[in-house]
């Protein structure tokens, strides 16, 4: 039993027996204890606690996004205020029929991958409507710019055919050769395009070899100066004149045969008889 002054005072205040006597009896506390009742001290608070856990409002957390995670599906936090309220969020149109159609520009570059009629797939008749490829004699007349343009026309047509082949397989299914019609016609068209490209390359190769042979001949020729700058007026062809026309005598056995002053070849019957072998 603890012996604080308050306990003794309270026990002294509670009347244990009913009052039958006058105020002067022992039910009232003694007069010398009066100063204790008149004190105005406040309720004693726990200044020194036993627990070390900090209280709830120890530090203000300035992070409004604490605990909010899109990966963990926590949802919107209590302190989060978004610029758009949930009821104002736009909703996707799930029905494909109600969606607006995409406006594709007429001059879009990707139209070049699709048929000229701007359909998804060419019919076998459309694929079959082609001529033969260019032949090499026809291409020999064309200059570099025309051949280069033709090459790129062929490249784009091949891209178109490759796109057609892929889409055709997607629609018709690759039944191991038993798919829809159009594969054979596409292959025949591609073959003609490849023939044209082969012809272009052949022509350019021919021209390159002609140029290379001319260049080598010019380097080896003494009368031609390949390093001359014609724009500045320097002559590229410098003929040496009449002194170089005479045939040079090198003193070989062949001189007797090539000498222009002789008319008949010398008789060689004696040497032939001695060298005759059976």
């Amino acid at each position: 039993m603890h012996c604080t002054g308050a306990f003794l005072l309270r026990s002294a205040l509670i009347p244990s027996i009913p009052r039958t006597t006058t105020a002067t009896t022992a039910s009232l506390p003694a007069a010398f204890l009066l100063p204790a009742f008149t004190t105005t001290t406040p309720q004693p608070t726990a200044r020194a606690t036993f627990s070390t856990t900090p209280s709830a409002h120890a530090r203000k957390d300035g992070n409004r996004n604490r605990g909010v995670s899109a990966l963990r599906h926590t949802g919107i936090g209590k302190k989060q205020k978004l610029s758009v309220s949930l009821k104002d969020l736009p909703r996707p149109v799930l029905d494909p029929q109600r969606r607006s159609k995409v406006q594709v520009d007429d001059d879009h570059g990707l139209w070049d991958f699709l048929p000229t009629a701007r359909t998804a797939l060419r019919t076998p008749d459309e694929l079959h409507a082609h001529g033969r490829g260019w032949t090499v004699p026809e291409l020999r007349h064309k200059d570099w710019d025309d051949l280069h343009r033709l090459w790129w026309v062929c490249i784009k047509e091949r891209n178109r055919l490759a796109t057609q082949w892929y889409e055709h397989d997607r629609i018709g299914g690759m039944d191991g050769g038993a798919g829809m019609y159009g594969e054979h016609e596409g292959a025949a068209r591609d073959k003609e395009v490849r023939k044209t490209m082969k012809g272009v390359r052949h022509c350019l190769t021919e021209r390159w070899y002609a140029w290379e042979n001319a260049r080598v001949a010019g380097m080896e020729d003494g009368e031609v100066d390949l390093y001359a700058e014609v724009e500045r007026g320097e002559a590229a062809y410098l003929p040496r004149g009449e002194e170089s026309v005479e045939p040079v005598s090198l003193g070989s056995e062949d001189d007797a045969r090539t000498d222009p002053s002789r008319t008949l070849p010398p008789p060689n019957s004696a040497s032939a008889a001695s060298e005759a072998r059976v």
């Binding site: 995409v102 879009h108 280069h148 490249i155 891209n159 490759a162 796109t163 892929y166 039944d175 829809m180």
Partner: protein
């Protein structure tokens, strides 16, 4: 710089390289991607192609400008047997993995949507070819090693019911099989 001069000549919105290619020889396939939005396009490109090559090719050959990011992936080939083109005697032990394909997805500056697929496939004769392939498959099962696993065929059952009905009603008279040629024909 030579690269700057090339940029000025073609006015490309990106830095171009110094190598000029005049006669390339490869194919590009433009895929139809319904699952992607209209401002995305996907291509099958050569295996040695790079993202920079694709951006350059699309700009200079097709005048198509693409966004800053191009995504690419290589699809590995499935292991299969046989040879392409198939020789006269198919070699079933020639197991190999064909070359993979490279796909690239670009973001377009101007959207592009493929035209609708044709609903009527009569010009391509899809109906007949499908029927033919189904019949081929059925015949193959009939003569194949698993033929005894097949159950009773509906067409035979119906034909037998009709024959039995005709015999019972007296419309046809039963004749021995040999006179009809049963067992004489070589067939299954």
């Amino acid at each position: 710089m030579a690269s700057q001069l090339a940029n000025m000549a073609t006015h490309a919105p990106f830095k171009v390289g110094m190598k000029e290619v005049y006669l390339p020889n490869f194919k590009l396939i433009f895929k139809r991607t319904k699952h992607l939005p209209a401002n995305y396009a996907s291509f099958i490109v050569p295996l040695w192609f790079s993202k920079l090559d694709l951006r350059d090719y699309l700009y200079h050959a097709y005048n198509v400008r693409v966004g800053p990011v191009i995504r690419s992936y290589v699809e590995q080939g499935r292991i299969r047997q046989g040879q392409v083109p198939e020789p006269t005697r198919p070699q079933y032990k020639r197991w190999h993995r064909p070359r993979g394909t490279k796909h690239m997805t670009v973001e377009l500056e101007r959207p592009f949507a493929w035209p609708e697929r044709p609903t009527d496939l009569t010009p391509w004769n899809k109906e007949e070819t499908t029927m033919a392939s189904e019949e081929q498959q059925a015949y193959g099962e009939k003569v194949g090693p698993q033929a005894d696993q097949l159950g009773g065929r509906d067409d035979r059952r119906v034909a037998m019911r009709e024959q039995a009905k005709a015999l019972l009603e007296g419309k046809e008279k039963w004749k021995p099989g040999l006179s009809r040629g049963v067992g004489m024909a070589f067939g299954r």
